[in-house]
Chain length 388, copies 3
């Protein structure tokens, strides 16, 4: 293949065409094996790599933006608050986020807290008998406030260290079961997702072009009947992940709404559609877990008429829905195509190595073939085609 | 290339060098074609794959963190609120987010809501003539509260079902046009972006090293005059995306601020700079859309002197700016380099196959060449170099 | 290798096996060089590409969800507020976010603001001597309100333009040093991370299966003693990034908690564990910076007894912790394996080209070898094996 050391003038050499001298072995056995192995390699390169795995394509990962909008009303009836309505402004915290939304389903409310001193909740660390058991300024990371150094009555039977904190303290109790906002399972969420594949300059939205606005105002996602509707009932999301909404709503949890955009951009653009799946992300197994479920504390602050700041502390349990968008686009590109073709050609060379080995070691006429194939020469002159 | 079945002692075999016997065809036509096709392949591998598409590089995707800080004051004058100033604490909701920020531009305010009973807003589902039309406990997902079962006067002419809800209800009206916070177009946002390519241990910030702090305190991004300034006027962002800020501000929308970091880390680090583009992410076409624009409801909670909780409900319309950071870094790596070189060598082998075919089927002296190239042998003995 | 132009019937051709005729040169020098270069190529393909760089694997990037939960109490004592406790509901803003959390460490509080008119803070732009210096309706983006057109006393010595704004205005002062919530360094954060590699259908959590819940309730992450504990002390996070917490807490900053999941899915699943590193993301260098540190303004809104809205403005400085999850999984796949093997085979072909060149240009018996290797033929008939 090279023009090395061939002739006097480079000009003459340059146009020489070098081709290997070939020995043609007419044998059905070897020929069949050869063609069969070649067919395997070609079927692998063309069929598997190109057609099935799209090895001729360049790929890009998705760039995504998500907005969500929840709708629904929940009714609760408790001794502290009476009959009460909860709407979007009450149960979505914070009111807007990028790509994620939290729905309050249960809570422990501690109203009318003020900065003052009161007895700690009874725990092994806080129970005391005299002032000597309490250290002024001590701040236990798992406690509720900073100790004042006094040991006071928590109730008739127990004494605990007094703390400076938002008093009255939140009680250490389990959240209500059934959950307070049990109606949350009927809430619906509209998910709008805009994706882009920057390398291929391709944009698309999950509200497909064939859907009109009158359909959108009343549809609800259903895998069988309405697979393109971007409005989901929370109960359906949780059930598809094989969870029970009311059970999950007691302590809260984290649900993943996975939107997968795998698109072949050599095909029509209308084939590029999102696929929705749902998965529970937090671990509900209590054995290998700490702080199971999902909750966080937030407060509403007020000022009373004499200017004292009070707050209502809410330990809110609920389900956080994370919208996870992922996917890959592929489009024909000459580089991966020729890379795979090149590798395939090299593998065809390997087929020859294998067939040569069979011809020269296993076949009955192997000596004959060797005579024809090999010419020996050494540092001291031409040898015959026979081995020494 | 292999030492299969060659000689008695492996030691002798091992140092044998196998090279193909070559037929050199001196033909200008074939030679020219051969060199031309080889040159094509080499130009493709070296020029296109290596130089243009940087096939010799390994790649990594960007890991990013973004902080934003908006500045600006808006003045409104309405009958309900009078003349009023809105600053950052009033219009950025929530006050801080990771990689995204929402600017309130318009709103419908319903002040002094309390938990009580009142007549539903008139819709086909809520209009009634007698108590029988209303069902106690009925909770329509698209309604405003839970029905009490009574049919009451909404106004002098219409009767609707009474609901338990936050009353007075929010009116079903279009948001103000022109938008309330029209001044928002002059707000500026400082975007700080820190990126990292973990595979190459490379960090960089979008505030480039050559920029000093006195420039930064007064510059505003402009593609022609200040392309490195990380402070953007909201109106400019929206205009570059070919939208009108005031139109968009009425119902809100979602803007993407795309920061692209495509870096060749074989080049000086100062060449690795961010490229800013802006794009509208939400769909403004009302035909194929539901809930166009971008809005959400939030509330401010108060307690009056007798402890009753009241709230001000705000349906806030505005523009959410998503900062989308993406990009790819490349750096020389031996593996993709040799992969592409190897594939290129295999393609050169394909050139030989094509030239062989031309020589042995098209050229006038093809029989002559065949005689020289091929030696036939079959299972029964050596054939001549002539075909049988 | 091809069956082009070989015989009369395709059927006969198809089973012909084509193999190159080989010249075997018995020379220790050439043979050694040949085997040595082949060994290099094979060592590269097998050792470097396959074993070290896992070139036989297909890869996938991680899909991640993160929840965080901070614990801790801080005590402050200021003249304005007196002795006061700050708990999670007070210092985490907003109360919940996806993958990121902000901890307030310092602040400038401006209580009891109402919408009214007052003198601007003195700056070169706002200082005036008479009403003519102030323009009614002027809204300076860097100012605090909208000018009324009057020049009023700021204090005994200075006059500034009057503005409509939330008055009294926030003072232009440096934040307190030492920071108010200095106790924040002892807060702990529980980070729960759920990852998925969609291509390989592989899920894992950062709370590893071997850890039980009693360990989790009291452990704190330590690189030497407790590397698997998902509870981190904020001070430790900052110190590992070679920063000082108290210094950083004055003006705030942004810390990255990097969780790296590089997994070889051909190995046991228990080998796939997260690696935690910590990095400061914001630029602390004041020279090449604007608005150093990290702060934002938020407000608490109140209504006094006559219905007037008041607010407390808080310029909050603090540390935002961004949890950045990244990583790559690899699993055996036939395509990259055969791609690399194919490229390796082609490189072995290059070895032959180099050895041929050495044999035919450098070796003493090069003429002899050339005679054996090359057969010349041209357009006008067979030439001898000698060059013309």
């Amino acid at each position: 293949m090279s023009k090395k050391g061939c002739c006097n003038s480079v000009g003459e050499c340059f146009f020489d065409y070098y081709t290997s001298k070939i020995l043609v072995i007419r044998s059905r056995k070897v020929g069949t094996l050869n063609r069969f192995t070649q067919a395997l390699v070609i079927a692998y390169v063309v069929g598997y790599v190109c057609v099935l795995k799209k090895g001729y394509q360049d790929t890009d990962t998705v760039l995504s933006s998500v907005t969500t909008k929840v709708k629904g009303i929940a009714l609760t009836n408790t001794t502290e608050l009476g009959e009460r309505i909860w709407d979007v402004a009450d149960y979505i915290i914070p009111p807007q986020e990028d790509g994620s939304f939290f729905v309050l389903t249960n809570m422990i409310i501690t109203p009318n807290q003020t900065q003052s001193k009161c007895a700690e909740n009874p725990t092994p660390a806080s129970i005391c008998t005299s002032h000597r058991d309490c250290k002024r300024g001590f701040n236990d990371a798992r406690g509720d406030g900073v100790q004042t150094g006094r040991c006071v009555n928590y109730n008739d039977t127990v004494k605990t260290c007094e703390v400076l904190s938002w008093c009255p303290l939140e009680k250490i109790v389990e959240p209500p079961n059934p959950p307070l906002l049990a109606d949350a399972e009927n809430f619906t969420v509209l998910i709008k997702n805009n994706i882009r594949y920057p390398k291929f300059n391709f944009n698309k939205r999950n509200i497909l072009p064939n859907i009109n606005s009158s359909y959108l105002t009343q549809c609800v996602f259903s895998r069988k009947t309405d697979p393109d509707c971007p409005i989901f009932r929370l109960k359906d999301i949780v059930e598809e992940a094989e969870e029970d909404f009311q059970t999950m709503a007691v302590h809260g949890g984290v649900m993943g709404v996975q939107i997968r955009w795998d698109c072949d951009l050599d095909m029509p653009q209308s084939w590029c559609v999102p696929r929705y799946t749902f998965r529970r992300l937090d671990n509900k197994d209590p054995e290998n877990n700490v702080a199971p479920g999902y909750n966080f504390r937030f407060a509403k602050y007020y000022k009373d008429s004499d200017g004292t700041e009070t707050r209502t502390l809410i330990k809110g349990y609920g389900i956080r829905f994370d919208v996870l968008v992922f996917g890959q686009a592929g489009k024909f590109n000459i580089i991966p195509t020729l890379l795979n073709i090149g590798a395939g050609l090299a593998l065809l060379g390997l087929v020859n190595v294998i067939c040569d080995w069979i011809v020269l070691t296993i076949m009955t006429r192997k000596h004959h073939y060797k005579e024809q194939k090999y010419t020996y020469v050494d540092d001291f002159g031409l040898l015959s085609n026979e081995e020494t």
